[in-house]
């Protein structure tokens, strides 16, 4: 389990889990689950297109994931965010269907792009994955305060002259970067599961944002490590275990929240208190 090609799988999966935990915390905090689902779907179309023209699949993933993020951001300037996300996603998926119809022999590769293929990680993918991971984490660290502020108190952010739509676009591009590095391992359909279940659980257990991010990383590492191990032993698809464990973590977090008498979603409270300390207007709900 820990030899040969599996070493690559463990390395890449570990990097993916760390980044998914960090970025996933903000996905949950900002209520961006739909976008986190839509962007990987868009990226999937890119892999199909890259395959068609013989380009590198990571390149196709990255280009289409970022195009999806831009599409969501553009469309949501003029309407509801969930509608914009849905429209951008179906357009990208329709393009994917078009590309797939033009290429032949692609069925099994499609399955592994959608649901992940832990055995398919080659040494040549290690470097791009590492680079993209560093870029994504660095961007989150740089934007840390802005991301927190616009998530927790949009009105205060607005009053301070922060352009929420710019922050949202930057965040979606970060999600796109995470997606591009993760799709070959966990698959387009399940990366968002990793970005939601463990971080949502982490928010129920920890109020402080930094602690919650660390906890989210731990939970997503636990999810992906056990998913790989069980997937290796049983040959069942890794995506199933990621989805199931993500849901299990979420339920554990909900149970903890109920048991300790907290309302779910109140874990932003402490951060919110920090932010509202500056806000004497009392205009907030």
């Amino acid at each position: 389990m820990f030899t040969g090609f599996m070493v690559n799988a463990w390395l890449v999966a570990t990097v993916v889990a760390v980044v998914a935990g960090v970025v996933g915390f903000f996905v949950v905090l900002r209520g961006s689950s739909f976008a986190a689902h839509a962007v990987p779907n868009a990226a999937f179309a890119g892999a199909a297109g890259a395959n068609l023209i013989g380009a590198s699949s990571v390149g196709g993933l990255l280009v289409f994931a970022i195009a999806g993020a831009l599409g969501i951001s553009l469309l949501s300037r003029r309407g509801r965010r969930d509608v914009a996300t849905a429209l951008a996603m179906v357009v990208m998926l329709a393009l994917g269907a078009l590309f797939l119809s033009f290429s032949t022999q692609y069925a099994s590769e499609t399955y592994s792009l959608l649901f992940g293929e832990v055995l398919g990680v080659s040494s040549s993918e290690l470097l791009p994955t590492a680079v993209l991971a560093v870029v994504a984490v660095a961007a989150v660290v740089l934007l840390w305060r802005l991301l927190l502020l616009t998530s927790i108190d949009p009105e205060l952010a607005d009053a301070r002259g922060v352009r929420a739509s710019h922050v949202e676009l930057a965040f979606l591009v970060i999600v796109a970067v995470v997606t591009s590095m993760s799709v070959p391992v966990v698959g387009a359909l399940l990366i968002f599961s990793l970005m939601i279940g463990p971080p949502a659980a982490a928010r129920s257990f920890a109020a402080d944002p930094s602690v919650a991010v660390l906890l989210a990383v731990c939970f997503s590492l636990a999810t992906i490590w056990s998913a790989i191990a069980v997937s290796y032993l049983t040959t069942l698809p890794i995506g199933f275990f990621v989805g199931a464990l993500g849901a299990a973590f979420y339920l554990a977090g909900r149970a903890h929240a109920v048991w300790s008498g907290k309302r779910v979603g109140s874990s932003g409270v402490r951060a919110s208190r920090v932010v509202t300390a500056f806000d004497d207007q009392g205009a907030r709900r």
């Binding site: 986190a36 429209l87 119809s101 099994s108 399955y111 649901f115």
Partner: protein, 324 residues
């Protein structure tokens, strides 16, 4: 003239039985998705609407595995997902999308498992593609009556709930104060939406089910703020987009690359996106003109209600619909 039309409608379009079934089933599903979609958009449940499409595909894969009718697989899985979402609190705006996402993630995981079993046991590696992407042109005509009947059921539920749904789409507090059972209304609507999307997913694929649920509804709500008109327009736009898309896909056998049709789902989504963008551009143009006129006119005309400007009335004027 005849030459022109034979290029617009390539020969054999209306004679082909495949096309007839596609037009019929696609039209029925598009009309109902449009009506249900208006409420999905107003209530901010587009994500849930999309999730049902992906999750019901897992039911389809499961039904294939168990050798039962795919219709039951799609419908059953979708309704179970709706129950799960309702149970873990999808009705609260806060945390709703996480709850939806977790159910979707679990459903997709199940889908991975079932498709894997299908691939290994039945060696059908193309199952993933056909389940997810679907095609209007591969519907068997035997499933048509069941699909139409279930669709009519879902539509009847939504029409029965019309008024309470509208009220609770404006605001749960307003609805509750007028005696609407908000919780029950929301739950029943979620089930009706789950059924509608599952029917769409089995007949036209998961991509198109989302496209037809959200696209025409969002376009219609850009055109009018009256919910009844919006529902009717959404149904009309959905049916028109589906039929035009079918026509384009049929014609595309004569487009490059030659002898290889373009996917019907791509054609329909393209029509939906273009209609949305056209309406959006027209609307922003009209609003700009209106505000320019209002700026030059005196106070009384500026205060007069303009058809394009949302008024903050009761449930009949949903301009200021709830934002999540």
């Amino acid at each position: 003239m005849g030459g022109f039309w034979s290029h617009v409608v390539e020969p054999g379009f209306f004679q082909s039985q495949t096309v007839q079934v596609a037009l019929l089933v696609g039209g029925v599903v598009a009309a109902i998705s449009g009506v249900v979609g208006v409420f999905a958009v107003l209530r901010g449940q587009s994500f849930a609407g999309h999730a049902f499409g992906d999750i019901s595909a897992a039911g389809g894969a499961g039904a294939f595995l168990l050798n039962i009718s795919p219709l039951f697989g799609f419908l059953g899985m979708s309704l179970v997902a709706a129950g799960c979402m309702e149970a873990i609190g999808v009705r609260r705006v806060r945390g709703r999308d996480v709850a939806t996402g977790v159910v979707l993630g679990a459903g997709l995981g199940t889908s991975a498992l079932f498709l894997y079993f299908n691939t290994t046991l039945h060696s059908t590696s193309g199952a993933a593609i056909s389940v997810l992407f679907g095609s209007l042109f591969v519907i068997s005509s035997s499933t048509v009556p069941a699909v139409v009947a279930s669709a009519a059921g879902a539509l009847a539920i939504v029409l029965l709930l019309y008024r309470p749904l509208l009220l609770s789409s404006v605001g749960d507090d307003i609805a509750a104060s007028r005696g609407v059972a908000v919780r029950v209304t929301g739950a029943v609507f979620l089930l009706a939406m789950a059924a509608t999307v599952a029917l769409a997913a089995i007949t036209i694929g998961a991509i198109l089910s989302t496209a037809l649920l959200v696209g025409p509804a969002a376009t219609a709500l850009r055109m009018t703020k009256r919910p009844g008109t919006a529902a009717a327009s959404a149904a009309a736009i959905g049916v028109a987009a589906t039929w035009l898309g079918c026509l384009l896909a049929y014609d595309s056998y004569y487009w490059p690359p030659v002898d290889h049709g373009w996917p019907v789902s791509f054609c329909i989504v393209a029509v939906i996106l273009i209609s949305y963008l056209v309406v959006e551009v027209a609307r922003s143009h009209r609003l700009r003109n209106a505000s320019a006129r209002a700026g030059s006119a005196d106070q009384t005309t500026a205060a007069a209600p303009h058809p394009g400007v949302p008024s903050h009335g009761g449930p009949d004027a949903l301009g200021a619909s709830r934002t999540d």
